[in-house]
Each structure stands twice: as structure tokens, then as C-alpha cells.
């Protein structure tokens, strides 16, 4: 009997190895190995098109941190994050609270808010570029109808980042909304009912019940949005190309440019590792505080 179980155990191990093999191979080769290889590359002066490489220690990192464009990319990424996350989270929460009223047409509303999430970033960036076109675009045409001369949204360094932020809030709103809606549905209705009997207004209920009870979800969504913001790329590529005058140069776009336009592989790998390290910190915060159900 014991031998039979042992045999079965062996068989299970064999089956498991076979079942895991395909995915294990793919992600070791294309995720695990590359993350270490990029750490290795970040210590070398190496080009994508040349075959020689020179060890430079932390040289790439010190050059990076002293490079004004990279510094600009960091402050711009922070600016973008500060612009997208608080407003995006707040709006999504308000909409979720409104939707959580046993409304009719819930399906329609949810789909309307969610459609931007599932459509391609490239396509919607192109649509927004056209909407923000200074002379014939939708936004400025509507503004001129009420007597306002709109700015060159994407051509004016003062407005380019704001434009990208607006697009990004619009694009991701539905994602956070769905997460909040799930969180809100976990709050028992009785809590609200008893508060109402005690004479609480809906504003009071929102701040005294909803916010405290949805805190874990709020934290999770905030961390996820911050991490997403640090990886912003597609909309920058399509809408501004990092310009005008580096006003929308962000970390991942800088990485892309250095690696695939200037072929500075080692240098760009240092950017990749800085990005990875920062995201890792947020991941650890997220796993430590907001998600324990793995």
C-alpha cells in the first residue's frame, strides 16, 4: 500500500513537471533570465549594434543620475503620476459609489466607463491627438463656441503633459471603477441602513462608512495606479514623442529612446533596473499591506 502511494507520488511529480515545463521554459527564458541579463548589461558600456563591451562598474548609473534629460524624465513621471493617480482614483470612487445604488442600466453605464480600458492605447491616443488638434480638433472647436481660444494642447510645453494626463485618466477610469464597485458590494447594506436610521446624511455615510470600509481596496487601486503610471509609454509615443522640449519625456520613453534609437544598451539597461527597483518597492508595499489572499 505504502509502495503504491509512493509510486503514485512519483507519477504525480512526473506529470507535474511535464505540465509545468512549457510555461516554465517560456518565462525563464523571456522574464527571469532577461531581468538578470539586464542587470549585467547595466554595468557595461555596450551598444546594440557593436560587438565589443567595456566594464564601467556603476558608471552608467552615475551618468544617468547626473543627466538632465533623465532627471527631467523622473520629475515628469512623478508629475504624471501625481496628475493621474489622485484625480483618477477619486473620480472612479465617486462613479462607483453612484453606480452602487441598485440603478437600472447598470450594465450600460459599466460598459461605457469600461470601453476605454479595453481599447488599444495607440488607437485612443491617435483619436485624442485628433481631438486636441489646435485648429480643427473637437476640443478647441467646442471651446471657441463659448468664446475661448484653446491652447496648442500637444504643441505647447505648458499643456502637453496635462493633455496626456487627461487622456490617461479617461483611459483608466473604468478599471479602478470596477475594482471599487467590487469592494463596495462587499459592504453589507445593513450598515448603511442603520446609519440612516441614526440620521446620517449620505455625505456622512460616505466619509464615515464607505471610505473606512473600502480602505484596503482603495490602497490596492492606488498602488496599482502608481505602478501603472511609472510605466507610461504608449500615449507618449503616439501623442508627443517626449516633446515639446522634453516636457513629456518620461522614464520608459527615455529607456526606449536610449535602447532602440541610440542603441545604448548598457545605459538603457541601467534605466530598466532603476525602474524595476522602484516598482519592486511598490510591489512589496502592495503585497505586504493590501493583498494577503495568495
Amino acid at each position: 500500500m505504502v509502495r503504491k502511494w509512493k509510486r503514485l507520488g512519483h507519477e504525480q511529480t512526473k506529470t507535474a513537471l511535464l505540465a509545468l515545463l512549457p510555461s516554465f521554459v517560456v518565462f525563464s527564458v523571456f522574464t527571469i533570465y532577461p531581468i538578470f541579463h539586464s542587470l549585467y548589461l547595466s554595468f557595461f558600456n555596450v551598444s546594440l549594434v557593436a560587438t565589443t563591451k567595456r566594464y564601467v562598474g556603476f558608471g552608467n548609473y552615475t551618468t544617468l543620475l547626473n543627466n538632465p534629460t533623465f532627471r527631467r524624465a523622473i520629475t515628469n513621471t512623478l508629475h504624471y503620476t501625481m496628475g493621474v493617480v489622485p484625480v483618477g482614483i477619486f473620480l472612479a470612487l465617486v462613479i462607483a459609489v453612484l453606480l452602487n445604488n441598485r440603478l437600472r442600466f447598470l450594465g450600460f453605464f459599466r460598459s461605457a466607463f469600461f470601453t476605454p480600458v479595453i481599447t488599444s492605447m495607440v488607437a485612443v491616443s491617435l483619436v485624442w491627438t485628433w481631438m486636441l488638434e489646435p485648429n480643427y480638433g473637437l476640443i478647441n472647436s467646442l471651446l471657441s463656441k463659448i468664446g475661448i481660444t484653446g491652447p496648442g494642447w500637444l504643441t505647447d510645453p505648458k499643456w502637453a503633459m496635462t493633455s496626456v494626463i487627461i487622456l490617461s485618466i479617461w483611459k483608466n477610469l473604468g478599471y479602478n471603477m470596477v475594482i471599487f464597485l467590487a469592494g463596495l458590494q462587499d459592504i453589507p447594506a445593513e450598515v448603511y441602513e442603520s446609519a440612516q436610521i441614526d440620521g446620517a446624511t449620505s455625505i456622512q455615510s460616505f466619509f464615515r462608512i464607505t471610505i473606512p470600509m473600502i480602505k484596503p481596496t482603495l490602497g490596492f487601486a492606488t498602488i496599482m495606479s502608481i505602478m501603472g503610471s511609472m510605466k507610461v509609454f504608449g500615449q507618449i509615443y503616439v501623442m508627443t514623442g517626449g516633446g515639446p522640449a522634453n516636457s513629456t519625456m518620461v522614464v520608459v520613453y527615455y529607456l526606449y529612446q536610449q535602447a532602440f534609437e541610440f542603441y545604448r544598451t548598457g545605459y538603457a539597461s541601467a534605466v530598466a533596473w532603476i525602474l524595476f527597483a522602484v516598482i519592486l518597492v511598490f510591489t512589496i508595499i502592495q503585497m505586504r499591506f493590501f493583498r494577503t489572499d495568495y
Partner: protein, 278 residues
């Protein structure tokens, strides 16, 4: 009608009006995209902005398909997305089943590895991945476009959670009756897994279809480009042909929007399930 009821009715009406306004403004860019795509090339360049095309024309679509090889881009996108989706579903079912149901030494450690890999952003690995694909001689090929995405830790994780939520008894009974593991998986587990498979499949398809950075760097000639790459390259035109670009955008977004409308629940579940890239 008492005053309490009246107050509720008024507040509900306000909620509807606010939500409707917001929902319409969320959809406005899509309406603008569609309407612009149906206009004549020069009609968009008038100072008096109009919503409706004065005459509906498909010439924008025609230009997108003739001046640019958008049909080819579309075929590449379909091919690449279908390969990736199929492979991701198969690998995820296998790995998820192993994690959920099979006992083997080191299972928790291997699972933790999968979870950690999920945290590594694609942008941090893209340079070595590119170098590797180039070394293998797979630049500008379907294999180069698809290989890195044939399996994701996310898929394995999703399927594992789903298998864990299923009762074990059916499978155990089948094994006692002499079924092999493969038979159990194919005949008993998979038919019960359809909702999860749909969720994962839709999610994989959407990410593959919308992916842009990897196909952008890995393709070197027009005939290998995907729709997203072709679309992104349009944005660099100095004299933009907006109706044509909007027509191309419609074609690039429509498949995913249609898939979404036909299976909203699975879509929303899959994205809400965990915060992966979007």
C-alpha cells in the same frame, strides 16, 4: 407621495443625470473617431466644426487599406493574437492544474517563482529579450513576435485559483475508476472550466491585440507589422490625413470592442482579477 420618497426620487434623478453625462463624455471620443472616419479627406479642415459628415463616405477606409497595407497589418494582428491566445490558454491550464491538484516536491517554491515573475515589468526585460530574439535570428518573424508571450505567470495563477475553487471529488472518483490524469483533465475538468477559459482567452487576446512596444521593436519591414505598429507610425505623419487615421483606428479597435460587448462579464472579471498591465 411623502417628502422622503420625493427626496429619494430627486436624488436618484440627479444620480442618473450625472452618470449619463459622464458616460456620454466617456464615449464621445469613440463617436468622434467613427464620425471623422466617415468624412471626406478635406471636410475635417473647416473652421466651422460639424459633428456629422455632410456625406457619408468610406474613402478614408479605402485609403487606409490602399495607401498603407492595413489589411496585411490586420492579418498579422489576427495571426499573432490567435497564436498567443491559444498557447497561453493551453500553458496556463497545464500549469494551473499542476499547482492546484498535483503534489510534488518544491511546489510552493516554484509557485512563488511564478508569482514573482508576475511582478517584473516587461519594460525592464525588453532589451535582453530583444537581444535574445536577434541572436536566435528571429527578428521580423512570427516566431519573434509570439515566442515571449506563449505563457504568462498570470494565466497559471488565474487557472490555479479557478481549479482550487472546484470540488475535488469528481476527479478523485474518476482516478479511482482508472482514468489517467490527462483523461481527467480533458474529460472532467476542462468542461467545467469554460468560464475561466473564456476569461483568460479574452484577456490574452486583448493584451496581444493591443500590444505595441514589442512588435514595434521586433519588426523591421512593413509586411510583418501588426495593426498597432502601423497605427503608431501614422502618428508621425507631417500632413495627417485624419479621416484615414480614424478609419484605421476604427479597424484596430473594433474587434476588441465587439468581443467586449459580447462578453462583458468575463472581460471585466479578468481585468479586475489582478492588476496586470493595461
Amino acid at each position: 407621495m411623502n417628502s422622503h420618497k420625493l427626496r429619494t426620487t430627486i436624488s436618484r434623478s440627479i444620480i442618473y443625470i450625472v452618470l449619463l453625462t459622464l458616460a456620454v463624455s466617456m464615449l464621445l471620443p469613440f463617436a468622434w473617431m467613427l464620425l471623422s472616419s466617415l468624412k471626406e479627406e478635406n471636410e475635417v479642415f473647416t473652421y466651422e466644426m460639424t459633428w456629422m459628415p455632410s456625406k457619408i463616405t468610406f474613402s478614408g477606409y479605402h485609403r487606409a487599406l490602399t495607401q498603407q497595407p492595413f489589411l496585411l497589418y490586420g492579418l498579422n494582428s489576427v495571426l499573432v493574437s490567435v497564436i498567443i491566445t491559444t498557447a497561453q490558454v493551453v500553458t496556463a491550464v497545464l500549469a494551473g492544474y499542476a499547482f492546484a491538484r498535483l503534489e510534488f516536491p518544491g511546489r510552493n517554491i516554484v509557485f512563488m517563482m511564478y508569482l514573482s515573475a508576475m511582478m517584473i515589468p516587461a519594460q525592464a526585460t525588453i532589451i535582453p529579450a530583444f537581444i535574445l530574439i536577434r541572436k536566435l535570428g528571429l527578428l521580423n518573424s512570427y516566431r519573434g513576435l509570439t515566442l515571449p508571450f506563449l505563457a504568462t505567470p498570470f494565466g497559471a495563477f488565474l487557472m490555479r485559483q479557478f481549479f482550487l475553487s472546484m470540488p475535488k471529488s469528481l476527479e478523485e472518483a474518476a482516478i479511482i475508476d482508472g482514468c489517467s490524469r490527462a483523461q481527467v483533465l480533458l474529460r472532467i475538468v476542462l468542461p467545467l472550466t469554460k468560464p475561466a477559459l473564456a476569461t483568460l482567452g479574452l484577456f490574452s487576446f486583448m493584451t496581444a491585440w493591443n500590444d505595441f512596444m514589442w512588435p514595434m521593436i521586433i519588426t523591421t519591414t512593413a509586411n510583418m507589422r501588426t495593426l498597432q505598429v502601423g497605427l503608431a507610425l501614422l502618428s508621425t505623419d507631417i500632413y495627417p490625413d485624419w479621416p484615414m487615421m480614424m478609419a484605421a483606428s476604427v479597424m484596430a479597435t473594433l474587434p476588441v470592442i465587439l468581443a467586449f460587448l459580447s462578453a462583458q462579464k468575463q472581460f471585466i472579471q479578468s481585468l479586475a482579477f489582478t492588476g496586470v498591465k493595461f
